[in-house]
């Protein structure tokens, strides 16, 4: 309520009251126009302030609903017994117990742990669960395994820990402090509005001072001249505009909320529109955030699988016998299980117990096989070795569902090279053939190809155990491994990836045509990052990195001209050693950049680098560690699903569906609102001249006042409000997503060009039209224009009851007053009518009115109608003369 715009209104209100004070001190019975005007101005500020407050309170409420309403509890040892207390009551030295599913209530040093794994992703960005144990493994507290961090989640196992810090002293707390320490940058729209206030204020003050001097020169009393000065300044204040801006912003915020963008800060709506760089996360934002089988390799052939969000069946050729075997391994050698009672949930949406790869495989086989759980039931598992990092394979032995075949089936999956080492034969087109070197080579090529696509590759093999050696009752023992684990039969490879969301490539290309640079910032491996970047178009087809050019030309990297490479993949380790100028160079030289293996802290560095180039940066983030970057960015976008509370707090906007495409919608809305605000402002500014001119003419020519203050208020806050708000409903013009983002210094919301066009072109036409009406009304009644010059003093003399007009008729004061009201009304109607036309002019900036369509914006049509209805009501409703000095025009 005290930002630039409101300040202007407050100043206007105070000036009004001063003017009124001056007037009263001179003559106690002056009309109260100035007093009312001041009150109305103050009222407008307060009302719009309240409106904005409620709007933001609404989004704050949504924010609050994110937070877990149940206060966090901690299980703590006190006085020799376990107690459940509030996490906020913990003190350093408390001994707490943590089990799977708990949120760690404070920073703790683990003193005992059983298979404890924590999810530190919100803090460090690592998405893999981290194990916790009592040993000190690293000097850095963030790296060591014996510290559990406040607000991270314990995924499995149990642990006992000693509280070492609480509240703001925790790592998270310190980051939160850091985030609040990062200065709040002014939003671009706030800057624009300030600039606009400068223009309007400058114009008002200079006109005011000029006419102050003129009126003094003309022999007005100094007090009168001051009242004039204030009058001129106040006449320039666009009373209705602040309401229009607020309403437009909240309308857009509402519209964006429907498209899954929750806007916390109203002004951020526009910021998104001026964004020139988007630093986007990969996981979950660009991708679907779930591993999915992308490729298969069997029978020496790579086939690709469907990775879209709602796959129902796989379309590749499934007739091969090899495939039958391979799919059996995939289905059986898997520990993941669907949670119960999800039969009617689409396969892809079902909840699964198991890690990401196994989930992907389970869902994949469910799609190709049908009911996997039932299939496993028929092929009972007799023995199993789960995956571990030393073996790098997973093995299980099953009875088969073939009643004539009593042999056990051994299935194994794991790291492809390890699996191949254990194989002596390979299945090709359904036949087992010996594994030779040439196959090994084709295997290598396929493996490299799949790995090069950034995919996680798994190898699969099997063996039917001979019946004589392994009869029905054979006691399989995992510890002694009393079964063969080599000389198996290789079946094929499956590769998995977290596939891009299907809407993303389109969104990225939209960004590109809109001149927005999309930078991917991820903690993932560079190859994976690059593969995803390529598949979504962040690195476009034909773009090469320096490395790729070097490889192609077979020259050392140092000889490659860096400017030839459009794309760049920067590793977090490289970034660590870079100076600011190195980073600037990368950002400048490469159009398509991927930052891989970056820590959330490095995000801040990247954001600062972009901002140094003068870009307006949007950043997406979900982790706690992202919050400084989110704060630092011109617009921070937090993830609604994956995002932590700290990130949501620091962000200006929340993506409810974590989808990158929603950002692009937001950009479009942001640009639209900038355009529409521009339209609304130029619409609103136009009539300022038509409202100011009468006053100037009144001072200079000393004629009856053409339009009264109250009447002006009824234009600004009456007839003009709905039309200017209706411009916020205007659809985007055709080029909206095809032009460059606006330059924050050059493409202003209000520039002199716009001001001049509004003020001196349309405004002048409007004024001239209105003055024509004014003179016509007076002339019709007997006062020809020539008679009006210098008539003011006797016109306004309450004791002059026989003022002569051009025809010698005599007018009493009351008759003149009524006549003046008729002028007011005529002037008012004239402005309203020309504003009708002005509204249609402002409908478009670039498009022709026919392209834009006259009837598409229903609200605008309503605005036009409302203008007429309000004007007619004010003019023709009985009693208006006494109340507001409107009178019916004859």
């Amino acid at each position: 309520m005290i930002s630039g715009f409101s300040l202007l209104l407050w100043a206007g209100a105070v000036l009004c009251w001063i003017a009124y004070g001056v007037q009263v001190s001179q003559a106690p019975d002056v009309p109260r126009d100035n007093l009312y005007l001041g009150v109305v101005l103050a009222g407008v500020v307060i009302l719009t302030g309240c409106f904005a407050y409620f709007q933001e309170a609404k989004s704050t409420n949504i924010m609050a609903s994110f937070r877990n309403m149940v206060p966090q509890q901690a299980l703590v040892w006190r006085d020799g017994e376990k107690k459940q207390i509030l996490a906020s009551e913990l003190v350093v030295g408390d001994l707490v117990e943590i089990k799977g599913g708990d949120r760690i209530p404070a920073d703790v040093r683990v003193i005992s742990a059983q298979g404890c794994k924590v999810d530190n992703s919100s803090l460090t960005g690592e998405s893999e669960p981290q194990s916790r144990s009592p040993e000190l493994t690293h000097e850095n507290p963030l790296e060591t395994k014996n510290i559990g961090f406040y607000s991270t989640t314990c995924l499995e196992g149990t642990a006992t820990g000693l509280v070492i810090s609480t509240g703001d002293q925790t790592i998270i707390g310190r980051i939160a402090c850091l985030a609040s320490g990062v200065g709040d940058e002014k939003t671009p729209i706030a800057v624009e509005i300030e600039h606009f206030v400068h223009i309007v204020g400058g114009f008002a003050c200079s006109v005011g001072v000029i006419f102050f001097v003129i009126s003094l020169g003309m022999g007005y009393k100094i007090m009168d001249a001051i009242v004039f000065l204030i009058g001129i300044i106040v006449a320039n204040v666009p009373e209705g505009l602040i309401a229009t801006v607020t309403v437009s912003l909240s309308l857009t915020a509402k519209r964006m909320a429907k498209k899954n963008c929750l806007v916390k800060n109203l002004e951020a709506v526009e910021t998104l529109g001026s964004t020139s760089i988007i630093c986007s996360d990969k996981t979950g934002t660009l991708t679907q955030n779930r591993m999915t089988v992308a490729h298969l390799w069997f029978d020496n052939e790579i086939v690709s699988a469907d990775t879209s969000e709602d796959q129902k069946n796989q379309s590749f050729d499934q007739s091969s016998v090899t495939w039958k075997h391979l799919s059996r391994i995939v289905a059986l050698c898997n520990r993941a299980e669907f949670l119960a009672k999800q039969e009617d949930v689409p396969i892809m949406k079902r909840a699964v117990m198991g890690d990401a790869s196994e989930t992907a495989l389970l869902k994949f086989s469910e799609v190709v096989y049908g009911n996997v759980m039932a299939y496993r039931e028929k092929n009972k598992k007799v023995c199993e070795i789960p995956f571990n990092s030393t073996n790098k394979f997973q093995l299980s032995i099953h009875e088969t569902d073939d009643p004539h075949d009593k042999r056990f089936l051994l299935v194994m999956k794991g790291a492809p090279e390890r699996i191949l080492d254990r194989c002596s034969t390979v299945m090709l087109n359904g036949k087992e053939v010996p594994l030779d070197d040439s196959f090994k080579e084709t295997f290598q090529t396929a493996y490299m190809e799949l790995g090069g696509m950034g995919e996680r590759v798994l190898g699969f093999c099997h063996l039917l155990l001979p019946e004589d050696e392994f009869p029905d009752s054979y006691p399989f023992d995992v510890e002694s491994m009393n079964f063969p684990t080599s000389n198996l039969c290789f079946a094929g490879l499956l590769s998995m990836i977290d596939p891009p969301r299907s809407t993303v490539p389109d969104a990225v290309s939209k960004c590109r045509s809109a001149g927005i640079k999309v930078i991917m910032v991820t903690g993932d491996h560079p190859i994976t990052a690059q593969a995803i970047a390529k598949s979504v178009g962040i690195i476009s087809e034909g773009s090469e990195t320096v490395d790729e050019i070097a490889r192609r030309l077979n020259i050392p990297i140092s000889q490659v001209n860096k400017k030839d490479a459009r794309a760049a993949v920067v590793n977090g380790m490289q970034l660590k050693d870079m100076t600011d100028s190195d980073l600037d160079e990368i950002l400048r030289n490469h159009g398509e950049i991927v930052f891989a293996r970056t820590s959330p802290q490095q995000k801040l560095v990247i954001v600062e680098g972009c901002q140094r180039m003068g870009a307006i940066v949007a950043v997406t983030g979900d982790g706690v560690n992202d919050s400084p970057a989110l704060k630092k960015a011109n617009i921070g976008i937090a993830m609604g699903i994956a995002g932590s509370d700290a990130a949501k707090n620091a962000a200006d906007m929340i993506l409810m569906d974590d989808n990158f495409a929603s950002i692009v919608t937001g950009v479009e809305e942001g640009r639209l609102i900038f355009d529409n605000l521009k339209k609304a402002i130029s619409y609103t500014l136009t009539k300022n001249i038509a409202e100011l001119c009468p006053f100037l003419i009144y001072i200079i020519v000393s004629c009856p006042l053409p339009i009264g203050t109250i009447t002006i208020l009824f234009i600004d806050l009456g007839t003009d409000i709905i039309p200017s708000v209706s411009l916020a409903y205007e659809k985007g013009e055709t080029d909206i997503m095809n032009r460059k983002p606006r330059h924050p210094k050059r493409d202003r919301l209000v520039n002199w060009q716009l001001a001049l066009y509004s003020y001196s072109q349309i405004g002048m036409i409007q004024s001239v039209g209105a003055f024509f009406c004014y003179f016509t009304v007076l002339a019709q009644q007997g006062f020809l224009p020539a008679r009006l010059i210098n008539i003011r003093v006797s016109w306004e003399d309450k004791n002059d009851q026989d003022l002569e007009d051009s025809y010698g008729q005599e007018w009493t004061y009351e008759q003149r007053r009524y006549q003046e009201s008729e002028c007011y009304t005529a002037f008012f109607v004239s402005i309203v009518i020309s504003q009708l036309a002005d509204l249609i002019i402002r409908k478009t900036r670039m498009n022709s009115i026919f392209q834009q369509g006259m009837l598409r914006n229903k609200v605008l049509l309503f605005g036009l109608a409302s203008q007429l209805i309000i004007a007619a009501f004010l003019s023709y409703c009985p009693g208006m003369y006494d109340a507001l000095r409107f009178c019916p025009l004859r």
């Binding site: 019709q780 009851q801 004061y813 008759q815």
Partner: protein, 248 residues
């Protein structure tokens, strides 16, 4: 401008209601002076002087512009179209001596020095307006009924408040033929462009016996079929004035 002016002539609108105004002018309808202090009423005398100057005989000698319309009220004098096709129109002379004691010819102070102040009352000029005399006596107070004549718009002044009735004393009216009213032969008015020399008929009202040192509210009213009164415009068809005559 003239062509625009003639254009406008056709679609002109006229003042809707006749107003009754007076000289000297009052400030917020109040007028007060001290009997023996010439300075306190000099401004009133000056303004009446100024106003009546145009009614001097030597201003009305041009026979091309003025015609003698006799000294008894008679009917409207129509002078043709309201445009310049027939040239300028003549106007009726108005003899200042008709205002008798209030003419300022003998008593240069218009009675102010004697404590018998005069008000010069006129109907505001309206283009083409023809006031219609009252058809009957019903709406007219008893004392004024004798003034009702066929070609006269009578005026009558009386105390506004009942308690003032006895304090106002006798009121004398001077006008054409000694009648307190506006004769119709001066109407209609053809406007400044055609009838620059036009003199509207006057009536002088003299309060001869005002109680001293009291606020007296007096209302003067013109009576006619097309004369209306309004609460908003206090000069429409009537005016009221607060007079205080101070002895010291």
């Amino acid at each position: 401008m003239t062509s625009v002016a003639t254009q406008l002539e056709r679609c002109r609108m006229f003042i809707e209601n006749e107003c009754l105004t007076h000289t000297p002018k009052t400030i917020k309808t109040e007028i007060s002076y001290t009997l023996n202090n010439e300075g306190s009423y000099k401004a009133f005398i000056d303004s009446i002087d100024l106003f009546l100057k145009q009614y001097d005989d030597d201003q009305q000698t041009n026979k091309m512009k003025f015609e003698d319309c006799k000294d008894q009220p008679s009917g409207y004098i129509e002078r043709g179209q309201y445009d310049s096709s027939a040239g300028e129109k003549k106007a009726c002379t108005f003899n200042r001596t008709w205002l008798a004691n209030c003419s300022g010819l003998e008593d240069k102070t218009y009675g102010y020095s004697l404590g018998k102040p005069c008000f010069i009352v006129k109907l505001n000029r309206i283009l083409g307006y023809k006031p219609e005399p009252p058809k009957n006596n019903e709406s007219i107070p008893l004392e004024a009924q004798d003034k009702v004549q066929p070609n006269v718009i009578p005026i009558h002044c009386a105390a506004k408040r009942d308690e003032d009735i006895s304090k106002i004393g006798q009121i004398n009216y001077y006008g054409m033929g000694g009648i307190g009213g506006f004769p119709l032969q001066y109407y209609p008015y053809y406007g400044k462009l055609l009838q620059r020399q036009y003199l509207q008929p006057l009536v002088a009202v003299q309060f001869t016996n005002l109680t001293l040192d009291t606020d007296l509210r007096i209302e003067c009213k013109a009576y006619g079929e097309n004369i209306n009164y309004s609460d908003k415009d206090r000069f429409q068809g009537r005016f009221d004035v607060k007079i205080q005559l101070k002895s010291r």
